[in-house]
Structures are given as structure tokens and as C-alpha cells.
């Protein structure tokens, strides 16, 4: 440090009066400093230590809650639909033994179905559920209507059971394609690929079930409006 002081000048300067600020000013400034210290500002740096976990934990909790609520709402939407499809019309109740396929009753009591049973889903609930069902879910309902118009009671139950197992597509493969036409129609409604659906429609044509094939084809066109059907396949699935 360069000292530019001159001893005589410094001494004379020190001889000037040693003024001080008034005490009231001191008190005011110190009071303001204490008030400012009590009201601390928000930190400008990210929190450290334990507090740094607060935000990630809170974000994870919110995401978990959102996923749980979404799943719960989806399940609540599915239940009335499936319980409606499973509900049997009065004439079906008259012949329960003949209509029920043997593998269905104890086979797979899925959670939504159990829930629907506990809620006692009847035909009235079924109608309400059909009205409330969103368009995507109503595709199964449209196929079911087609069955009600042309299929047997057993086939209706079959379709209801199959629709109930919509989350298990491999179950379709276990069904024999040469079974009841309504079963094939149900499989068309449930088909995972357009090619498989067309094959099943062609199977209906081969069996001479042209009404069911027409309805299944109409259903196919609703589900796959942009699908281009090959000419060879078109001959198989169109009414001769």
C-alpha cells in the first residue's frame, strides 16, 4: 500500500473537530437494521441439506397421485360397461344350463367382473352404462347389438364373456374358429388386427352366415375406415 500521507497535514487534519452523528440517528439506523434482520428475504440459492429433498419428493408424490387417480377412473369406467355386457336378458335366464360355456364360469373371475357382481349390475345398469359409455368403449356394445339381432342367447353370453376378457387377447386364439357364428362375430369385434378380422369375416361367408358377415364387415369398416382391403380378400368377405 502506497502511503501518500504527509505527517504535518495528517496531524492538522486530526486537529479538526471529531464530529459524531447524533444518538437519535444511531438509534434509528440500528432499529432499521434489526427489523431488516428479522424479516429475512427469500434465499437466492437452491436449498441445501435436508430441504433439497422437499421438491423431488413432492413432485414424486403428485405424479403418483395423478397416476393412481387416472387408473381408478379408468377402472370405474370399465366396470359398468362389462357388467352391462354380462347382464342377461330375461329369455336367457330361462336356459342358463344350455347357454353357459363350461370353461367360463370358474375360469377367470377378473377383478372388474367381481366388482360388477358385488354391485349387482343388472339390465337397467347395463342400459345406463351403454348410454354413458364413451365411443371407443361402445364398439363392443355395437357388436353385442348385432348379436342380439341375429345370434342366439348362448352366443350373447359368449360375447359378453369375451368382451369381459378384453384385456386378454390370447384367449381369443384358444377359441375354435369353427364354432358358433356369433362367437366368430365376437372375435371380429375383438380382433386385434384388421387382417385377423377379415379372416373371420371370410370364415362367416364360407359358413353361409351372410347376415352376420355383413354386420361384422360393417363393424370392421367402422373400426378401420382407412384400411385398404386387398381385392382377393374383398372377394372372400363380400356377399356373393
Amino acid at each position: 500500500m502506497t502511503d501518500e500521507r504527509d505527517p504535518k497535514v495528517s496531524q492538522r487534519y486530526r486537529e479538526l473537530a471529531r464530529e459524531e452523528p447524533p444518538r437519535e440517528l444511531d438509534a434509528g439506523i440500528l432499529a432499521a437494521s434489526r427489523r431488516a434482520a428479522e424479516t429475512r428475504l427469500a434465499p437466492l440459492v437452491p436449498p441445501t441439506g435436508r430441504r433439497r429433498w422437499y421438491f423431488p419428493v413432492a413432485a414424486a408424490a403428485i405424479i403418483t397421485l395423478a397416476v393412481a387417480v387416472t387408473l381408478h377412473m379408468e377402472r370405474q369406467q370399465l366396470d359398468p360397461e362389462f357388467s352391462g355386457l354380462r347382464s342377461e336378458p330375461p329369455e336367457a335366464k330361462k336356459e342358463p344350463a344350455a347357454a353357459a360355456p363350461p370353461q367360463e364360469s370358474p375360469a377367470k373371475p377378473t377383478a372388474p367382473r367381481e366388482f360388477a357382481r358385488e354391485r349387482g349390475g343388472g339390465s337397467r345398469n347395463s342400459q345406463a352404462a351403454k348410454r354413458a359409455a364413451p365411443p371407443a368403449m361402445s364398439q363392443h356394445s355395437q357388436a353385442a347389438d348385432a348379436i342380439q339381432q341375429g345370434g342366439s342367447a348362448g352366443a350373447r353370453r359368449e360375447f359378453g364373456a369375451r368382451a369381459d376378457e378384453s384385456s386378454q387377447p390370447q384367449a381369443v386364439a384358444r377359441e375354435a374358429p369353427s364354432g358358433a357364428p356369433a362367437r366368430l362375430l365376437g372375435q371380429v369385434a375383438k380382433a386385434q388386427s384388421p387382417e385377423a378380422a377379415l379372416e373371420r369375416i371370410a370364415e362367416l361367408r364360407r359358413q353361409g352366415k351372410h347376415d352376420e358377415a355383413d354386420k361384422a364387415l360393417a363393424e370392421f369398416r367402422r373400426r378401420y375406415p382407412d384400411y385398404r382391403i386387398a381385392a382377393e380378400m374383398l372377394k372372400k368377405i363380400e356377399r356373393p
Binding site: M1, T2, E4, R5, D6, K8, V9, S10, R12, Y13, E15, L16, A17, R18, E19, E20, P21, P22, L25, D26, G28, I29, L30, A32, S33, R34, A36, A37, E38, R40, L41, L44
Partner: protein, 177 residues
């Protein structure tokens, strides 16, 4: 051992009001005299003095000890003084009512000392603003050339030149006594 200024200011930034009190009591007289000798009236000096310390309080969250606390403090003071000079220009500090130092009971010598001090005060008052500020920062606040340059926003060469001119003029005034 006394805590350094920078440590006290950091403690105050973190909420320790007592640290500010220590810091204030340590610097209040020097800052007040620095302001008082740069403005016309005591009332104005008190007003500026209060503003300077309020700025220190407000700026506590932004304080980082990159330089000496004193440099930071007098930078704030310099800015307040510049604002004041821009508003109304610089005037003299009234020193006539202040008692001269000395233990001599001789009235003649007392009068002589008072007159010598008044001439020194007039010489200080007559300095250009920048030179007087450099002198006060060096003599009253104890800043080095580099710190004066930092506090006043100039370079070291200019600060050194101003200080040399100021000391030379005051020395010349003393030699006339």
C-alpha cells in the same frame, strides 16, 4: 481479537443483528466525518449518513467479501455524495464554531491555533471535489490508492494524482502559517 468487518457483514447478512451493531459502531464516526466535510450543512450530512447506512442494510443480501468491507462501504458513500453534488453542488463545512485542539491556557496561542485550523479547513474546503474526496478517503477512511480508485470508480493513477495534489495544496497552506 475483534472480528473482521467482512465476517461481521456476512453474519448480519445471515440474520445476526448484533453483528451489524458492532460494525456500525466501528465505522459511524469516520463515515459521518467523511460526509460532513463533503457537504454544506450538518442536517444534510445527517441525511446522507442515514441514507448510506440504509443502503448498507438493503444491500446485505448482495454482499460478498470480494474486497475490504471499508471499500464497499465508502463506495456506497461515494455514490450518495455524487448524487448530492449533482443536485446542489459542493459547499463548505462550517468549522467556525468548532473548538480548536490544544491544552494551552494562553488566549493568544489559542486564537492563533484556531486561526491556523480555520485556514486549514478553508484549504480543505477549497480543494476540487475529486481531490478532497481522495484525501478524505485516504486520511479519514484509511483507504489505499487502489481502494480509493475502486470506491470512486476511477483508476489507480488518477486516484494517486488527485491525492498528491490535495496533500500538496494542504501542505502549502500549512507552510503559510
Amino acid at each position: 481479537m475483534e472480528a473482521p468487518d467482512e465476517q461481521l457483514m456476512l453474519a448480519y447478512r445471515d440474520g445476526n443483528a448484533g453483528a451489524f451493531e458492532t460494525l456500525y459502531l466501528r465505522h459511524r464516526q469516520r463515515v459521518f466525518r467523511f460526509v460532513l466535510r463533503g457537504v454544506k450543512s450538518r442536517a444534510t450530512a445527517e441525511e446522507l449518513f442515514q441514507e448510506i447506512w440504509m443502503r448498507v442494510i438493503e444491500a446485505r443480501e448482495r454482499y460478498t467479501p470480494q474486497a475490504r468491507f471499508t471499500t464497499w462501504l465508502y463506495t456506497i458513500a461515494h455514490h450518495r455524495m455524487v448524487d448530492h453534488w449533482r443536485r446542489g453542488g459542493l459547499s463548505l463545512v462550517e468549522l467556525d464554531e468548532q473548538d480548536p485542539p490544544g491544552d494551552s491556557p494562553d488566549p493568544a496561542r489559542q486564537l492563533e491555533a484556531r486561526e491556523a485550523l480555520a485556514r486549514f479547513a478553508q484549504a480543505l474546503e477549497a480543494l476540487p471535489v475529486a481531490q478532497r474526496e481522495a484525501f478524505l478517503l485516504h486520511e479519514e477512511a484509511g483507504l489505499s490508492i487502489a481502494e480509493i480508485a475502486a470506491a470512486t470508480g476511477s483508476n489507480a493513477q488518477a486516484a494517486k494524482s488527485r491525492l498528491r495534489y490535495a496533500v500538496a495544496k494542504l501542505k502549502a497552506a500549512l507552510e503559510h502559517d
